[in-house]
């Protein structure tokens, strides 16, 4: 947001920050457009229909994961379907007569209280507190893939329905239980009589959703399991979770015990943090950048070549380089021309150092060392010869 620098004589200063008026003039279009976008967004949210979130296996939900279709089918067959979202409501319904309890979610429900409700019980999916709701049923650690499965059992409700879209929990019922739709070591449907009624556990509720109900024998299985003629109490997750403030010993929650000032003090603290953030966040002038020259070590290529030698264990090349360097330095010291042949060099060197000509020849022109220790040894021997020559 810089304004064009006016031409001024050197040594003369000029302000570069925009004044309030020029800032408004340069940014008013952006501000107006932004305001317009915000206005449209707010109006759209206020006037548009509030989209209800999909509620899984809810008899009132028409979305793909809801179960309104199943509930309507049951009602068509004269089965009363009552949707409840708490244990208290379910217990109140149960008091009116012999009913079937369909449990789809127990996240916010006291499962022990739920287990005390008498009558038939159908439990769908991996709800919390399955041990209490279906005593004796164990789940396999491995989840079963949800797919179309054959009943392979004697349960009339399942055999009549045929294949169904099942999976999820892999279950093992107590002794005397009928298990259908096998998956791995367990089954995805277990039914057994218990106390006052029949408890049926299904591994996954997918077959009851609006999306899957028309496939396979899903609808038949669901109607056979739930539409036994008894009125159905359909327990779903409440739309708003109950408040979590658990009362303490004297029946007061933590929030009740807190003085009313605390909440306002927290608001004030938030304001204080914002003010502090403005204080620390405002920079004193621009960030100054600079194009710096490249920093590259001149020896990097040499180091890289050394690393390549090392990586490939290039003893031959390394030995050649060391030998060539030594020969290059020794030839003038031995009084030879730079183009001297190998025999001349070896002979002169052997004569001057008193070393065996064979050994000198092998060191200067022999085969490359067989291993790294040989290379280190060769380097040491070359150094030794150079020292001898320079000390003479």
């Amino acid at each position: 947001m810089s304004v064009a620098a006016p031409q001024s004589p050197p040594g003369q200063s000029y302000p570069t920050s925009p004044t309030a008026r020029s800032a408004w003039r340069s940014s008013r279009m952006i501000v107006l457009l932004g305001g317009l976008v915000v206005l449209i967004a707010v109006l759209g949210v206020l006037l548009g229909p509030a989209p209800a979130p999909a509620r899984y296996l809810d008899p009132d939900d028409t979305s793909l994961s809801g179960s309104k279709a199943l509930a309507e089918l049951l009602r068509d067959r004269g089965v009363t379907v009552d949707r409840v979202d708490s244990v208290e409501a379910a217990a109140a319904k149960a008091a009116t007569g012999n009913r079937l309890l369909l449990v789809t979610d127990t996240t916010y429900v006291d499962e022990l209280a739920l287990a005390r409700i008498p009558g038939d019980r159908v439990i769908v999916g991996g709800v919390l507190g399955l041990e209490a709701l279906a005593p004796g049923v164990r789940t396999e650690p491995e989840q079963a893939r949800t797919r179309s499965r054959e009943p392979e059992c004697a349960l009339p409700a399942a055999t009549a329905a045929g294949s169904a879209y099942l999976g999820g929990l892999s279950l093992r019922g107590p002794s005397g239980a009928t298990a259908c739709y096998p998956a791995g070591d367990g089954h995805t449907l277990v039914s057994f009589p218990y106390a006052s009624g029949v408890i049926t556990v299904v591994g996954d509720g997918g077959f009851m959703t609006n999306q899957r109900l028309a496939e396979d024998g899903n609808a038949a299985l669901a109607l056979n399991l739930i539409g036994t003629g008894k009125p159905v109490t359909w327990l779903v997750r409440p739309a708003t979770p109950p408040p979590l403030d658990l009362p303490g010993e004297r029946g007061k929650s933590m929030y009740d015990l807190m003085p009313g000032n605390i909440r306002w003090a927290v608001y004030m603290a938030i304001i204080a943090v914002i003010v502090t953030a403005f204080w620390r966040g405002r920079r004193l002038g621009p960030v100054v950048t600079e194009k710096l020259p490249v920093i590259v070590r001149a020896s990097e290529t040499v180091e890289g070549r050394g690393r390549l030698y090392r990586a490939r264990r290039a003893r031959e090349r390394a030995a050649d380089a060391l030998r060539a360097g030594t020969i290059d330095r020794l030839t003038p010291r031995l009084g030879l021309a730079s183009g001297a042949g190998r025999h001349e060099i070896v002979a002169a060197l052997a004569a001057r150092t008193g070393q065996d000509a064979q050994q000198v020849g092998a060191a200067l022109y022999g085969p490359p060392p067989a291993d790294d220790a040989g290379l280190v040894g060769l380097a040491g021997y070359l150094d030794f010869m150079e020292r001898q020559i320079s000390e003479l």
């Binding site: 003010v275 405002r282 070590r297 040499v302 090392r310 360097g325």
Partner: protein
């Protein structure tokens, strides 16, 4: 606009007030309104930043490693006192101090602020902005604004090798025959005739002049004067490599490793070859100018980067450091053919061409070697290269197999360097190959040797 720490403190005190107030909601609203009102009052009564005027004066040239002092006068023509902070923003490598200064200028008055720059890099450094934060009377909020007061400081190469100049000048006087030790002047240029005194070399007796006069007359000689020296600086990629230990801490010359990086165990990367070459070029130019030669300067990579010609003896060094200051190594392969063409088109008469480059066998083979004959046939060529002491150190390591592999690589590099040197010498080219600390005196000595031998 800016808030101060005091505003944050007031808001923090507000937390305590709200905590113990009988009506916390009202207290919160009260504290917030009070704070907002105080901020507005502060902003209204703070001295205006917009009308401030700045005047700079002081150094525009500074050698790398030294300090430039700039006076910044702040004039407040407004109606209110301006009290707060001032930041004079410069690029980081300008090394500005103080970063932020306290400012207190009463209405209608002016105050002076001394800003010192300790640059860590050659080149031009320009001030970026002046930011003033003017606090209100309550110290809760401040007005803030930027100003531009253009000023540029040119950071010159340090010319550290000038410490070698006196000894080389003494050698030059010896050559000139002006030395008090009465050594016969060497050289090949005829200077004058004078009477023979005992101790003169009999070979220098001019018999024809002796016959004409009644005295034995000797010729005196002096080194050639008014020769031309053309210093050519290769600013291509090979000049970017850093060698040696930085005599003056330079941007990037410190040991690596930032806040989040592990410190680099290797030695600090030192100075670029370019800076060492510049140092050597300056010593040579100073020496040649004193020796009465005409010095020209050319910097070239893919194009001519700098060209100094015909500078008088007194002006030469200052104009050289001036054109050298902004030159940085370009990360491109130098165009040797273009460089030779540029030299040939500029140097009509025979001259000494001092080429400061790297004796890198691969780059030389492809670049300079094919075109060198064109140059050496018309001019005397001296190639000077800065060698890398760390490669020399590497070639001596024998600690483990890994170090021997490194030593072999270093040996390979040095071998290539020696071979290229030998090939250059075969072409009749003088070569100076010295580590960074010695390149300047070595080049000066090579020049003196050429002069003594009368080869200029």
């Amino acid at each position: 606009m800016a808030l101060t720490g005091r505003a944050g403190l007031v808001a923090a005190v507000g937390i305590v007030v709200v905590l113990f107030a009988p009506q916390p909601g009202a207290a919160l609203a009260g504290v917030c309104l009070l704070l907002a009102a105080a901020i507005v009052v502060d902003l209204v009564f703070a001295g205006a930043v917009q009308p401030l005027r700045f005047h700079r004066s002081g150094d525009t040239l500074v050698r790398l490693g030294q300090q430039a002092t700039i006076e910044l006068v702040v004039e407040n023509p407004g109606r209110r006192r301006v009290r707060g902070l001032l930041r004079d923003a410069w690029p980081p490598s300008a090394g500005v101090h103080p970063r932020v200064a306290e400012l207190d200028v009463p209405a209608g008055e002016r105050r002076k602020i001394i800003v010192t720059l300790t640059p860590t890099r050659r080149g031009d450094r320009s001030s970026v902005a002046i930011t003033v934060r003017s606090r209100g009377p309550l110290g809760l909020a401040a007005r803030q604004g930027n100003h531009q007061a253009p000023w540029t400081v040119r950071v010159l190469p340090p010319f550290l090798s000038r410490k070698h100049l006196p000894s080389r000048l003494a050698r030059l006087r010896e050559l000139d025959g002006q030395h008090p030790a009465l050594v016969r002047g060497q050289g090949t240029e005829f200077d004058s005739l004078r009477e023979y005194v005992v101790g003169d070399d009999v070979r220098s007796i001019d018999w024809r002049a002796t016959a004409r006069r009644h005295d034995v007359v000797v010729r005196t000689w002096r080194p050639e004067r008014d020769r031309r020296v053309l210093i050519v600086l290769d600013t291509g990629r090979t000049s970017a490599g850093r060698v040696g230990a930085a005599p003056i801490p330079m941007a990037g010359a410190e040991a690596g490793g930032g806040l989040f990086l592990r410190p680099d165990p290797r030695p600090a990367p030192g100075w670029p070859r370019l800076d060492w070459s510049m140092d050597a070029a300056l010593l040579l130019a100073a020496l040649a100018a004193r020796a009465g030669d005409q010095v020209d300067f050319l910097a070239h990579d893919r194009a001519v980067r700098a060209w100094v010609s015909g500078a008088s003896r007194t002006e030469l060094l200052s104009s050289l450091v001036n054109v050298m200051a902004p030159i940085e190594a370009e990360l491109v392969e130098a165009d040797s053919q273009g460089m030779v063409a540029a030299i040939l088109s500029r140097a009509k008469r025979r001259c000494l061409v001092v080429l400061l480059t790297d004796l890198n066998p691969a780059a030389m083979d492809e670049g300079l070697m094919p075109v060198l004959p064109q140059l050496s046939s018309r001019h005397l060529v001296l190639v000077a290269g800065v060698s890398d002491p760390s490669v020399a150190a590497m070639s001596g390591r024998r600690g483990s197999a890994d170090e021997v592999y490194d030593a072999a690589a270093a040996e390979q590099a040095q071998l290539g360097r020696r071979r290229i040197t030998a090939r250059l010498r075969r072409h009749g080219v003088e070569v100076v190959d010295a580590p960074p600390d010695d390149i300047a005196p070595a080049l000066a000595d090579a020049y003196l040797a050429l002069k003594a031998a009368g080869r200029l």
